[in-house]
Symmetry: C2
Subunit: 447 residues, 2 copies
């Protein structure tokens, strides 16, 4: 009989004892974390069980932050390693960003017996195993609520509230930049390039928007969500990732006509393959969502995570998925949790990978395709195409033909089929003379 | 300096050690809890840190449950008190319902050092103080996630995820029966009586729907939500409560025309009175909600809890707020949490009432009125009415007049004002000869 990972236990230091914090990084999140702890110290005292005392804030340059609260309080230091090792530091808060440097610091902190609170999705998605092992070895906590959808409680609900349930699916709008762009395209009919420019102008997109628009940011979150939902380690490399830069105003218009909208979704599923083997998959791609679905109404830069579980049924968590304050809210919730354990003893649930389900190859995953193409307007073309779908074992849900002069527009929506077979079918269709152009291929979410 | 309530700490029994459960009640929830633990025992072993072993299921009549799983497993007993006192019982699960009898059993269990998981909103809303004190005295956990909105994680997020934030407002659709009725009235235009009958036919309403339609059920949940959100003890008696039985098809139609819908909301607020004193209020009443608001799209018997916090901004939690399986999901999440603490040591956050804010009289609360009335169609009436609002210090947001033969319909929406002043104003208006009828007065949610 296997037991849960952690067996080590440390008693608390006792109610009323101070809890020392080291904050690594002083950007939009770190500065809000410091400000809120400073302004609400009385509340934190009661909620954590003892006063939260900031021992220092590590930055790359002290000059850069002159006049800031951290500077006024004399907390700034460039020596992160000495700070996190201090005996009077119990919790290390990592809000630097990036992977290699924070990874080094977080591992050092855990090994030094400090609990760690991080908002770093890339770090957690890439190195969950060594981080979890270091935390377990030291018997301390590793919290990362802010790593997924900022202020929206997702990690906690999956780890705790749904700990007695079996999660089947997680489908999330977990990137505000891409949701802003797609929502703006949907409401204005404008092009991707124009709305990306608008997002950049309004500060929703960074100078280099690649990580957002190509889905890499969402893929990190998908890995974390799948790991939590299925008690299986899923990393960034395991996630199929497709961005939104190829989505056109025409795609959005076609979706509208079909009563749908296009969202960039992080989809995590547990399913059984033909051999009855249970597997998990995590993927990120533009998805046609029925306007009746709760996810369809998530507008602007808001995030939402939709969960379907065996007993709970359908749940959705909605809110601000980015920004200094919303991220600080999640970080502070984690700080209180970690501080409570330092004061009263006990540990938060650690990484849970006991189910250790195989991760499906993307080709095996069941998806639905929405194929928009231009075909010759002549007899027999539809029959020819229908045969190709049939030969590849793909059954069709709807076929819509809009006649033109000598070119007809054909929109085909398939039933769920193996991604591999759908891709092969599209390749085959491309090779047909009668098919002049495949305008778009977008996957569809089955309600 | 005051410390958090609990100071007592019990080390865990150690990983792999069995955790004994006593289930009190075997109705729709209890039977699903037993089934799911039985079917997923391997999962629970890993998630709780040790095997969950059911010691018994207490019922009023063993015969009544012959042939059930509990009966097959030989778990049924009518002696709840002996069961919950057994040395090999660590956690007592109360899913009986009612107040007095479960209250007695839960207190006995806590005093006997057992952690308690309950789904009983009425019990928690009426007796939170003595339950919390008994749990603290014994150093055990009292969990009640299922008491509010069943499967939707609300208690956990308010206690943990938002523990570092300052909650300003909680507005929830926390009663599925009334939401089903109002949503059905909205989509069909039918009357309250017809849709109540429909809800009863479909099993969404009980034979005696009073507790649901008059808002008592929602009021219990409002008390729990306000207590958690504001770290102040708010009980059922503190909640202003108004049901939906007086809502007419005409009210719904008028709301539609104004781009709104009517929802029964449990509203919990933190605000400052004229003297700058911070106060809290909790109330339940039909509310006009703008169709753009996330709560407006919550259809059928679904529940949703909308939270506004200082740093997190706007959050919403959506899902199934009732039913055997969704409620069991929440109960099981709590069981895993309580079991982990028995195995690894540590305690869940207990009741937090340190803020101890005064509870505002409903008359002091700021609300907005939507007043629909019939007035004589003659000069000067509007001026006369406007003067009354002005004299009572009420400023108007919108005034809409629909002329008739000699009777005009007048719809007035006020700005936020003291509930007391608004009530007085309506009384004054009633006394005017020119006002033939006040069709309806419904409060409005400010976005």
């Amino acid at each position: 009989m296997t037991a849960a990972p952690q067996t080590m236990f440390k008693p608390g230091k006792g109610a009323g004892e101070p809890v020392g914090l080291a904050i690594l990084g002083y950007g939009t999140v770190g500065s809000q974390v410091l400000r809120l702890i400073h302004e609400n110290s009385e509340d934190f005292l009661h909620r954590a069980g003892g006063p939260l005392e900031i021992r220092g804030v590590a930055v790359s340059s002290v000059e850069k932050h002159e006049g800031s609260l951290a500077s006024e309080l004399g907390l700034l230091t460039t020596d992160a390693e000495s700070l996190l090792r201090r005996d009077d530091v119990d919790i290390v808060v990592e809000v630097i960003g990036g992977i290699d440097y924070p990874r080094k610091l977080v591992l050092e902190a855990l090994e030094a017996g400090k609990s760690v609170v991080t908002a770093n999705k890339a770090l957690v998605a890439a190195h969950s195993e060594e981080l979890a092992q270091a935390a377990d070895a030291a018997g301390v906590d590793l919290y990362f609520e802010a790593a997924v959808a900022a202020a929206i409680p997702v990690v906690g609900p999956l780890r705790r509230s749904l700990a007695g349930d079996q999660v089947e699916t997680v489908a999330g709008i977990v990137n505000g930049t891409t949701n802003f762009i797609l929502d703006a395209m949907d409401s204005t009919g404008a092009s991707y390039d124009d709305m990306l420019a608008e997002a950049t102008r309004l500060g929703y997109a960074e100078a280099d928007p690649t990580a957002d628009v190509e889905g890499h940011d969402a893929a990190s979150k998908a890995a974390i969500l799948a790991s939590l939902a299925f008690h299986t380690r899923v990393t960034f490399e395991d996630v199929y990732c497709e961005g939104i830069s190829h989505i056109t105003a025409e795609d959005i218009e076609a979706a509208k006509q079909a009563g749908q909208t296009i969202k960039l979704l992080a989809i995590c599923e547990r399913f059984r393959d033909e051999q009855g083997q249970e597997k998990v998959s995590a993927r990120v791609h533009p998805t046609l969502v029925d306007r009746e679905h709760p996810l369809a109404s998530v507008s602007k830069s808001f995030n939402a995570v939709f969960v379907e579980a065996e007993a709970a049924g359908r749940l959705m968590f909605y809110g601000n998925g980015a920004g200094g304050n919303p991220t600080a809210s999640a970080v502070l919730g984690d700080i209180v949790g970690a501080a409570r354990n330092k004061v009263f003893g006990g540990r938060a649930p650690g990484e849970s990978t006991y189910a250790n389900l195989p991760i499906a190859d993307f080709g095996e995953v069941l998806t639905c395709y929405h194929i928009d193409m231009e075909v010759e307007e002549r007899q027999g073309v539809l029959a020819e195409l229908a045969k190709i779908f049939a030969d590849n074992g793909i059954s069709l849900r709807t076929v819509r033909q809009e006649g033109g002069e000598d070119v007809a527009r054909l929109i085909v929506v398939t039933h769920a089929a193996k991604e591999r077979d759908l891709q092969a079918t599209v390749e085959k269709i491309k090779s047909i003379d009668a098919v002049q152009k495949i305008t778009s291929v977008i996957r569809l979410m089955e309600n």
